[in-house]
């Protein structure tokens, strides 16, 4: 359960303060939640608030009652985050080591950690890539690996910020099926209006405000109308 309580984000720049996200109050409890909106609308900022990557400059964000500002580490253990560009997310030289890095907190022994990491890769169909350089993987494989690294620590929520934007059709399907197949709550930021139809609840963000909140079909129709008539 994620609660935003008057959470807003302002940044101060050379020409004064700019509001990225106007204070918003939301309770995110549905299993599959989509967020759509134009480039620069503030939807990424909204996503990043959910695991404390960005801190609200007003109001609070809580995950299961834990405040992202006060209980940052506990919130991050609960909320996994998948970035658009998996190359930035994968920080270790090989696949098995990258998953191992996620497991470092729960498994101190190197040998057992490697075994656990291999098991995670097995579950995600990536075990044949275990010792391959992360750099040599395809875009789709990288994103699947990034997701495997996030799921390895068994978070309760996965926030994905345009996870399929850089992928071809087949890999988009693969990554999406993985996201929608997991038990975790999913908050999916996307430009893929077909994909977002698979969500129970969809938020539309425009100019730093949540301007629509409802079922997928209605939200997508609303967004199409709004954007194309601008």
């Amino acid at each position: 359960m994620i609660d935003l309580d008057g959470a807003g984000v302002e940044v101060s720049g050379p020409d004064g303060t700019r509001t990225i996200l106007h204070p918003v109050t939301l309770r995110l409890a549905e299993h599959r939640i989509g967020v759509i909106g134009a480039n620069g609308s503030g939807k990424s900022t909204l996503a990043r608030l959910l695991n404390g990557l960005t801190q609200p400059t007003s109001g609070h964000v809580q995950v299961d009652g834990l405040d992202t500002r006060r209980d940052g580490p506990a919130v991050r253990r609960r909320v996994g985050f998948v970035f658009t560009n998996p190359s930035a997310q994968l920080v270790m030289p090989t696949a098995v080591e990258d998953v191992g890095l996620s497991l470092r907190r729960v498994e101190k022994d190197a040998r057992r950690r490697r075994a656990a990491a291999l098991q995670v890769l097995e579950q995600h169909g990536l075990v044949d890539k275990a010792d391959v350089s992360v750099h040599a993987l395809s875009g789709g494989q990288k994103q699947l690996l990034a997701l495997a690294g996030v799921l390895a620590t068994e978070p309760d929520v996965v926030v994905a910020d345009e996870p399929t934007t850089l992928l071809d059709l087949r890999n988009t399907r693969l990554v999406a099926d993985r996201l929608f197949g997991m038990r975790q709550q999913l908050v999916l930021v996307t430009h893929d209006l077909d994909l977002v139809q698979r969500c129970e609840r969809v938020l539309v963000v425009e100019d730093g405000r949540v301007v629509h909140d409802g079922q997928a079909a209605g939200a997508v129709a609303f967004y199409r109308d709004r954007e194309l008539s601008r």
């Binding site: 990557l53 991050r76 920080v91 270790m92 890095l101 010792d131």
Partner: protein
């Protein structure tokens, strides 16, 4: 793009099986030996030893030489300069020693999993823990460095392609400025990823 010189290649040679800590110690000892022994003959013998070692560890010599083109060009310049300044003997000694060391180091990384290497470094650093050094962080910095090399090379390739597409390949500014910016942006993204994955907590 993927063939970094000295990238780990799984295998089962005795060199692969030797513990990482032992290999690090041997490399350090070997480096001392290389520096201590002077003269062209010992340099050639050591270079021969390094080549044998590299072949034994199944280091792909031809591909490695290709990836080390820049180093080889630099060494040629060094050799020419040394021959001119101090004679051919010194040139053979200097260049032979350098190549011998580079090859030995590449053989180490090619036959050792990064994770094993990190564990060994962690063990070596563990006495510093009492002084308040967070050794896990140091080890993480090492692996980030290893991971970043191919990424920076890729950024360089992409920047060069972008400059060429706009007909600016002769402008150093069109190459260096975006490359520096993108490298920094990448560093920020990596930091965010570490944060998001709770690794810095």
């Amino acid at each position: 793009m993927t063939g970094l010189p000295g990238a780990y290649r799984p295998g089962s040679t005795p060199l692969h099986r030797l513990p990482a800590g032992a290999k690090l110690a041997l490399l350090a000892g070997y480096a001392v030996l290389v520096v201590a022994l002077t003269g062209p003959v010992s340099a050639l013998v050591l270079l021969g030893a390094s080549l044998t070692l590299a072949a034994w560890g199944r280091l792909p010599l031809r591909a490695t030489a290709r990836r080390l083109r820049l180093l080889l060009v630099m060494l040629t310049v060094v050799a020419a300069y040394q021959t001119w300044q101090r004679g051919a003997d010194v040139a053979v000694h200097v260049v032979g020693d350098l190549l011998a060391l580079v090859l030995a180091a590449l053989t180490l990384t090619a036959t050792t999993r990064t994770e094993d290497l990190l564990e060994a470094i962690l063990r070596l650093l563990s006495p510093l823990r009492r002084l308040g050094v967070r050794t896990e962080r140091v080890a993480l910095a090492f692996s980030l460095m290893i991971r970043t090399v191919p990424q920076v090379l890729e950024i360089a390739d992409e920047t060069r392609a972008a400059a060429r597409a706009r007909g600016l390949e002769r402008s150093p500014r069109a190459l260096l400025v975006p490359m520096a910016l993108r490298t920094v942006a990448h560093a920020i993204e990596t930091g965010e990823a570490l944060d998001a994955r709770g690794i810095a907590d």
